[in-house]
Point group: C2
DNA sequence: TTGATAAATGACGCTACGTTCACAATGTGA
DNA sequence: TCACATTGTGAACGTAGCGTCATTTATCAA
């Protein structure tokens, strides 16, 4: 009985925590860090202020937890999607598809994600931005690996440093996503990954 | 005498205003909008708080003025640089050169510029982001025009919508710039515009 | 049922910051 | 030099919001 109860409690706690984070995500992504108060999060998630502070030391801590957990999930999804593929071209296609899908099916996350990246946000104390940055560039190294192996195996022309190619592809994805978010009717998101890849590919692939 | 005095005063005012904005730029770009107080700007620019408020209705107004003036100068510089060129390829090179140079010689501006773009910042009330966004996409239309005329004149292959190509090129520039800002020793900025252009060009230019 | 432990609550203290305004200093023209 | 106008000043005010903690409520073993 006792051994069964503790996990139950623990589970309940996790559920509450997730609820708080979910509400926080909605608010932060809509209004931004500084336009959301702890009271607001408390009220909307139907907990008392004090309860919020039982779960998170302070506002920054909450935000940090939120962003990192989202990034974890995001990166895991991409990595998992890439696992199956062998062919480098197909890997790039998969990357584009997976990233687009993950972000587009998770709109509250998108703006937060794009805002928080690259040390551009200023929202929090030093250390946070640096950590996210490092994470992002680590992820870019993985992507660069695909380009590199493509170049090594002569499937790609050597039109640039793999890392720069990775950063370029990724930033193009981001900006197309924002374009679509801002003006979906006029500039729809290119559904076909090749539409995006062609910008690189028509010069990249050995013909 | 009277007619000469008024301009002198006026000029003095402008000088003060610029000083305030300059200090504000330094602070905002280093710490972000919410981490900078009006008192801080006042102190560092050696004016009294009250004086700041003689020049700007409120903090938001000051920030808005700052960002818009910087954008004006930036866009003017680019447009001017492009004026001379006729050839589409050379125009793209010039765009890359001009933008890189303008941003790299103006580091405090860079982070602000990149953060404020694309409605990602949440710093201010609605209307501001929208206006900047519109501005940016208008500017992208100009860049798209270069791609379009290149495609029309058959110098470029038709590998994508001109507007998407413009957004892609521009975002790649931004991300390379950030990369360089974050890790200048490891990932130096590609000095040769062709190094960047090649990512697009090797597939873009009719061979 | 009861006593004890853990969890949840929200009124309140406190600080930081945007903004105001009564006053001081400076400049102007006679 | 004097009255007047313009410009500059910073103490004080109001408020928003973070985080605390004394108190209440729920949980659970005996």
């Amino acid at each position: 009985m006792k051994t069964a109860k503790l996990p139950r409690r623990e589970r309940e706690k996790q559920r509450q925590r997730q609820e708080m984070l979910e509400v926080a995500l909605g608010l932060f992504s809509k209004k931004g860090y500084h336009q959301v108060s702890m009271h607001e999060i408390a009220e909307k998630s139907e907990f008392a202020i004090g309860t919020l502070y039982k779960f998170f030391q302070n506002k920054e801590e909450l935000y940090r937890a939120l962003v990192f957990e989202l990034c974890d999930r995001f990166e895991d999804a991409i990595v998992k999607a890439l696992e199956g593929e062998d062919d480098v071209v197909e890997k790039l296609r998969t990357y584009i598809r997976a990233k687009s899908e993950k972000l587009r099916s998770n709109l509250p996350f998108v703006r937060l994600f794009l805002a928080e990246r690259r040390g551009v946000s200023f929202n929090l104390r030093a250390g946070f931005d640096e950590e996210l940055l490092k994470r992002h560039y680590n992820f870019m190294e993985r992507l660069a690996g695909i380009f590199e192996s493509g170049i090594n195996s002569k499937r790609f022309k050597n039109i640039g440093e793999p890392f720069y190619l990775a950063v370029a592809l990724d930033s193009v994805l981001d900006s197309f996503l924002l374009l679509w978010l801002d003006t979906p009717e006029r500039y729809p998101y290119p559904e076909d990954p090749d539409a995006i890849l062609n910008i690189f590919f028509q010069g990249l692939v050995e013909s």
